[in-house]
């Protein structure tokens, strides 16, 4: 009864119509941000340097190139087995960096979960992670390459760093969702710190961790392709780079893109299945 009367007093009528939009701060900020973005998008392109470019012919050529790429894919420089082998290498790069990253993230996440550790430690780790995340993966890989040499070592180390930053946050968030009563109950029985980790934290969060880790593996596969192209890490990305920048063979680029796309779609499918199976069944 009280609820209805307070509802009625909130209704505002203007020009005989009930006002359904109310003014508040979050609405104001939202509109401000949106109008800023729209304005920026309209104005900013005028401040860029385009050089001498004939947009019309460029678009025409692009459409022609895309036609060659997607409608007439063919392999010429690489054989089918070689292409499949390169895909395997890309997957291997993604796997290794995900694995190493996941192991390190697990320990970092324990340190940065606010219900397991004092907050100053977690703040240090969070700051460290946002520093890692701020540097693009390709820059990390190239920096590592100066000491380790261009190749898989630099690529895996660089990709691992971003994996750590991502997974630490994901793991820590799922650790923080654990029922505190369980931890307290174990503490009360005199369980040691690592007992709590093994008997409460791990079993409670393992399905989330698997799902996040696979999601990262899926991402890392895409990153590994990019690193192959931009930092000579090998794998299908490097073939893609060679086919387009050295041989200008768009048919081959198309074929390689299709290969990469199919694997990515399979990974995405598996990742959604894992997520639904592990997390969907719980809630």
């Amino acid at each position: 009864m009280q609820a209805t009367s307070s509802m009625q007093s909130n209704i505002k009528i203007r020009n005989g119509k009930i006002q359904i939009k109310t003014f508040n701060r979050s609405n104001f900020v939202l509109h401000f941000i949106l109008s800023f973005l729209v304005l920026f998008t309209i104005v900013a392109p005028f401040f860029l340097e385009y050089g001498a470019i004939d947009i019309q012919t460029a678009i025409f050529y692009t459409l022609d190139n895309l036609k060659m790429m997607f409608l007439q894919p063919a392999l010429s420089q690489v054989t089918l087995t070689a292409a499949l082998y390169q895909i395997l290498i890309t997957l291997a790069l993604a796997f290794l960096s995900t694995l190493i990253g996941a192991v390190i993230s697990f320990f970092l996440a324990i340190l940065s979960a606010k219900n397991l550790m004092p907050s100053y430690i977690s703040n240090v780790i969070i700051a460290f992670n946002s520093f890692i995340r701020a540097v693009p993966t390709v820059l990390w890989v190239l920096i590592f390459a100066i000491v380790a040499g261009l190749g898989s070592v630099a690529a895996i180390l660089g990709m691992t760093l971003h994996t750590i930053a991502y997974l630490t946050k994901a793991y820590a968030e799922s650790f923080e969702e654990i029922d505190n009563g369980m931890i307290e109950a174990l503490r009360a029985t005199g369980a040691k710190w690592w007992h709590i980790i093994i008997h409460v934290v791990l079993p409670q969060t393992s399905s989330y961790m698997v799902s996040w880790t696979f999601l990262r593996f899926e991402t890392n596969y895409g990153v590994a392709i990019a690193m192959g192209a931009a930092a000579a890490a090998g794998g299908i990305g490097f073939e893609l780079f060679m086919a387009s920048s050295f041989y200008y063979d768009l048919h081959e680029v198309g074929m390689i893109t299709y290969f990469a796309l199919i694997i990515a779609l399979i990974l995405e499918f598996i990742s959604i299945r894992i997520k639904n199976k592990l997390i969907g069944s719980k809630s």
């Binding site: 979050s26 729209v38 860029l48 022609d64 701020a134 100066i146 387009s244 893109t257 995405e268």
Partner: protein
Amino acid sequence: MDDRLDIIKKKKIQMTVVLLIMLLITMGTSRLTEFNFIEGFQSIPGTIGWMAANLIPGAEAMENFSKVLSKLWETIVLSIISTTTAGLFALFFALFGSKTTKVNGPLAAFSRLIASVFRNIPVVAWALVLVISFGHNVVTGYFALFFTTFGFLVRAFIETIDEASMESVEALNATGATYFQMVFRGVLPESLPQMVSWLFFMIDTNIRSATLVGLLTGTGIGYLFDLYYKRLDYETVGLITICIIVVVIVIEFISNKVRRLIL
């Protein structure tokens, strides 16, 4: 009691099998990629030492500061406008693709498929193909970022619409609202804050992707990084890296602030 012991035993066996398989894959993949764990970890302290010694920009590198700033500006503009324009297109595709607002089944499946294809074609492939016809130009970077952002945002927007608006859509449908009334009065107001939050996430991601695309296509800050990297002018490389870090952290700060205000 016996049953429970069995379960624990079974779990232990399962865990061992999983760990063994992981170990095998690890050995196989490290052989395949010629990755040596010991060598890999040994190069970490060397790299950190090298970074401390060489990447700190000195006075000489600061002379390039204005050049770095102008390229940085280009990269920022590129990542923002590619995100906003992709967001506009993604909004339409998401409205058609979402379960609550779809017009009909085939169209929904089609728009989901398109988004999935665009999302999963690597940004490198777009960049490398576009650079052939557009050349070393901002337009190349713009389109490469646009396509992948579009694919990602459609998925994110579909999830947002599905999560946010089922109830209000039902209520509006019950009052006999038209499709457009339902979208503009029910769906959009409810999912807009979350969508803007996704836009900010994407701007942040795109700054980093733009560096990668720039490296490949010779535009923006990525091009400059590549240039000084190949010239072995590591102090300027350090300067560029620091600039990117500052920009990404500032954007992350702003987007956190905005998210807290609008969500």
